[in-house]
Symmetry: C2
Subunit: 311 residues, 2 copies
DNA sequence: TTGAAAGCGCTAACAA
DNA sequence: TTGTTAGCGCTTTCAA
């Protein structure tokens, strides 16, 4: 393993000078620097981040805790974040919350022990506030998609808006009896769009039951005779299965642009992942590098991807 | 940030003794140890892995490079591996290969710079053999799912076997004209199963075109009149879309048990992810801890999950 | 512009 | 059973 000492010897300078060659904005003779850099390259030198971290008490590493939702969408999130971090020379360390395995507590500990400079997580609630409060003082934190802690920065989605544009899209295509299969956090956008369009609301068309079955959805479709359907997250799957098994055509929009949604060419409410990742990483890096701790609470608007299912 | 020095002071012992309390199998008075551990807990002490790593030249970290395939399946792989690693007190650092972004080279550098103790990757070819060869001497490496480097340990899937059990399953259900939509790496199992069953092979029923379109599959179904279909990986999607859009029922098996396959209750060839993860982690940890470098080349057999689509 | 030296937190060899 | 001490590779202050 090649160290600065080796380079120093080869170049006939001290280790301090070698260190300077790798430290931006440090006073050093340009020629000496060039020589050092050249030798370093020849020797395949890579700075030891542990030695550096021990001195600077940072690791150039960001931790992320992936929640235990069955959402493959999170792989894209990881991918985008890691890509952005890489641009700044940072690395990503992940810890998963396991259904049958360990929980948020262990994941938080994993990240804490890793001495990551920052942590991104999606807490379901504030059950681990003891650990979180302790961590807050040691490491920069950011809540992603959820925000149960009021005093920690967050980047979340404007879910109500997402439902609204989906509903508006269907209305503008001439559909009025829109069946909504989802949860109550996002339904407000559905109501708003209908009201704005002056369409009377039929409460029967709104299902807020997270655990609704395919059978139930079929029943609803047959009895209520909707002209279009919006399915949210997991309920989108259930609704789409119901539609296909009924073998009918009915305009449909899915909330969350995941793999199978793209596959069946379904119109979807999507998250601008690259924008989110950019926001996250920018914020985190600025916190770390300026050692500042400005708090942000950003709300990002989803957008609609029109495909064939909503025609 | 609390250090062993602080604990040492509080306990009236030397830092060496505190260190011993945290080192397994080290000679220390049990009472002293208890006291130290108690104080450490009170103080929320967490060992500084960078200091420890600097001394021991290890990081208790394993790196993984996620290939740029659109395979959400990899999220499960990550999840399982991280879970196993956690049991051994190791962490997982990930680097993604980006289609439009950076490639394997950069990912390898990221992991190298992180000073991970081991690396799991799925090289497509040996294009970065220069870096890989250098890394080989610094870090334990394991090829997962692919194995272009002969001199690096690997854990891969028995894909031919997977196709074979899928075909056998259909045959045992009485189907003989089985349409195969996939690539040529796995088709051998299809041939074997048919031969073993004494069924004559109709080459028209075999499509090895990775880029086949939904239209083409429809055409094949209509003209060849198969009694069952096997779709592999991406081609499984195409085939299933063709089937649903034709609005017919035809027994179907998908290779790879991904999200949408489960969702539509499709019989699938699945990978025993927990077993794979267990194998990977066991191997890696044994390499790291024993500093040995026994090479393994494991081939893991997939299995069939029977669901409604193959009836 | 450079070098000497201290020290980041920890481990381990050696001495007591 | 415990303490002293050197040193892992690097950064940074201070002096030259």
């Amino acid at each position: 393993m090649v160290t600065i000492k080796e380079i120093a010897d080869k170049c006939g300078v001290s280790i301090a000078t070698v260190s300077r060659a790798f430290t931006p904005n440090s006073v050093i003779n340009p020629q000496t620097k060039d020589k050092i850099l050249k030798v370093a390259k020849e020797l395949d030198y890579r700075p030891n981040i542990m030695a550096r971290g021990l001195k600077n008490s940072n690791t150039q590493t960001v931790g992320i805790i992936v929640p235990s939702i069955d959402n493959y969408f999170y792989l894209d999130v990881l991918k985008h974040i890691e890509y952005c971090l890489h641009k700044y020379g940072y690395r990503l360390i992940v810890s998963f919350i396991q259904r049958g395995g360990y929980g948020e507590k262990e994941a938080l500990n994993t990240i804490e022990d890793s001495r990551a400079d920052a942590l991104i997580f999606s807490p379901r609630n504030t059950e681990n506030s003891d650990i979180v409060n302790r961590l807050k003082n040691k490491i920069h934190m950011l809540q992603l998609f959820t925000a149960p802690y009021n005093d920690i920065s967050s980047i979340i989605m404007d879910d109500v808006y997402g439902t609204k544009i989906a509903t508006e899209h269907l209305i503008s295509n001439g559909y009025k009896r829109i069946l909504y299969i989802g949860g109550d956090e996002r339904v407000q956008g559905y109501y708003e769009a209908l009201e704005n369009a002056g369409i009377e609301i039929d409460e029967n068309l709104v299902s807020l039951n997270w655990g609704i079955s395919e059978e139930d959805v079929k029943q609803k479709i047959l009895s209520l005779n909707p002209s279009a359907i919006i399915g949210v997250a997991r309920q989108a799957e259930t609704a789409w299965c119901a539609i296909t098994s009924l073998n009918i055509h009915i305009p449909f929009i899915a909330y969350d642009d995941v793999n199978w949604v793209k596959m069946f060419d379904i119109t979807a409410v999507a998250h601008p992942l690259d924008e989110i990742a950019e926001n996250i990483v920018e914020y985190i890096i600025s916190c770390i590098e300026q050692k500042s701790n400005q708090s942000i609470n950003k709300i990002i608007k989803p957008f609609l991807i029109e495909r064939s299912s909503s025609k």
